[in-house]
């Protein structure tokens, strides 16, 4: 309680956030981060570095559509796995480290499969 009182301004500044982002935006955020690490060894041979990476993944996942919503995996699952890619901040201005991307693949094979290892029906 004492620490909360002392650091209240900082807690407020970091805890305060805006409205919930739509599923399509969360999906595109993950796509951008994954493509930023496409060149990392051991991530996935299916990811092709460059502009084609994002368009391929967006098309494969369907989240280029603003009406996209997560079903399987769920939004919560994607968000939990996405945390591995946030070590350098909540914006995509700073690409994740290769180790973050490898952790994403190893800890969340189901979510990784959603993005590039299986075809959408």
């Amino acid at each position: 309680m004492k620490h909360l009182f002392r650091w209240w301004p900082w807690v407020c500044l970091t805890a305060c956030s805006g409205p919930e982002a739509p599923d399509a935006l969360v999906c595109r955020d993950v796509v951008v981060r994954l493509c930023q690490t496409a060149a990392c060894p051991g991530v996935s041979a299916q990811l092709v570095p460059g502009e084609a990476c994002e368009s391929t993944l967006l098309q494969r996942t369907g989240c280029e559509d603003d009406a996209f919503t997560f079903a399987d995996p769920t939004r919560e699952r994607v968000l939990r796995c996405r945390e591995a890619l946030l070590s350098r901040g909540p914006t995509t201005a700073n690409p994740p480290a290769c180790s973050d991307a490898r952790r994403f693949v190893s800890e969340c094979p189901d979510v990784a499969g959603f993005f590039w290892e299986r075809q959408q029906p």
């Binding site: 301004p9 900082w10 305060c16 956030s17 805006g18 919930e20 982002a21 968000l79 914006t91 995509t92």
Partner: protein, 303 residues
């Protein structure tokens, strides 16, 4: 409610301790006073009185008193209260308060739309600029306002207080005879050459010695009932003068002898003249014939 909050804030920060420097300044002398304290050590004293051809020794038993003379002064104790951090607290707190207040008052100037370039781990957009400004404004106010209040309270409590009190100083200390009472006893005249004179009894605290008696007695000190008797300096001088004059004035005045002495030993005769002059201070001492004869002898020699 706001007033209550203000009172609580002032009370909370008003107890901040201040540094205090004290110095003492001596003021004017108010009065001097003496006090005497007996040491309960009674010893015999004697005073002398001369009425030629008699010397009276008056004996008394007196206590030793410690006579103290004191000075009472007015003394100012000046306490300077100050706080080194008060001014910086006011200035820093003021800056924080102004910044925080400006951010809060002007938060509508900032965009209310969320930061869409960032999505946090919970899947929410980043806070809007308005929320960030509000947070910083509140934070700065929370830090700044207590600092300003604490600084102002400390500055108001700073200053000098002056307290005047009495101070006592011992100016002098003497030990003198006091509470004297006449006392009778056996007086011994001791310490001289030859056989010791027989002891004598006092009468009404006094012993009277004539010039003829004292000329025959040889003694240095006095004792009363075996206790050494203390004489003040002037009494001792008077006793010695009386003894000298008892011998000097006993010889018949012979101008012939003096004239011869003036021729052979003029310095000795001049010394005798000085002694005769000192005898003149004793009441009733017949010094004039001797002084006239000495002056005559010395005058005739000069011619």
């Amino acid at each position: 409610m706001k007033r209550l909050g203000g009172v609580v804030l002032v009370a909370a920060v008003g107890c901040t301790p201040l540094d205090v420097e004290r110095r003492t300044e001596r003021g004017p002398l108010i009065r001097t006073y003496s006090q005497e304290k007996a040491l309960n050590e009674r010893i015999p004293f004697a005073t002398t009185q001369v009425q030629w051809p008699r010397l009276t020794l008056a004996f008394s038993s007196a206590d030793i008193c410690r006579a103290e003379e004191h000075g009472e002064y007015a003394e100012d104790v000046i306490s300077t209260h100050y706080s080194r951090g008060a001014a910086s607290a006011v200035s820093m707190g003021g800056i924080f308060t102004v910044l925080g207040g400006t951010l809060l008052a002007g938060r509508t100037w900032f965009s209310d739309s969320p930061n869409r370039t960032a999505i946090d781990e919970r899947g929410r957009y980043g806070a809007s600029s308005r929320d960030v400004a509000t947070g910083w404004g509140l934070g700065l106010l929370i830090v700044g306002v207590p600092a300003v209040v604490a600084g102002i309270v400390q500055l108001n409590r700073s200053g000098e207080t002056r307290e005047t009190r009495k101070a006592d100083e011992l100016l002098s200390l003497r030990e003198v005879p006091c509470q004297a009472k006449p006392v009778d006893g056996v007086v011994e005249l001791a310490g001289g050459e030859g056989p010791q004179p027989p002891p004598r009894l006092t009468l009404n605290g006094a012993l009277v010695l004539t010039a003829d008696e004292i000329r025959e007695l040889s003694f240095v000190g006095l004792a009363l009932d075996g206790m050494p008797v203390t004489l003040q300096e002037e009494d001792f001088d008077r006793l010695e003068t009386f003894r000298t004059c008892a011998t000097l004035l006993a010889s018949p005045v012979d101008p012939q002898t003096l004239a011869g002495e003036a021729r052979t030993q003029p310095d000795r005769l001049r010394m005798k003249r000085e002694l005769a002059r000192s005898c003149a201070q004793l009441p009733g001492a017949p010094t004039q014939p001797l002084l006239d004869a000495i002056e005559g002898a010395l005058g005739s020699t000069a011619l």
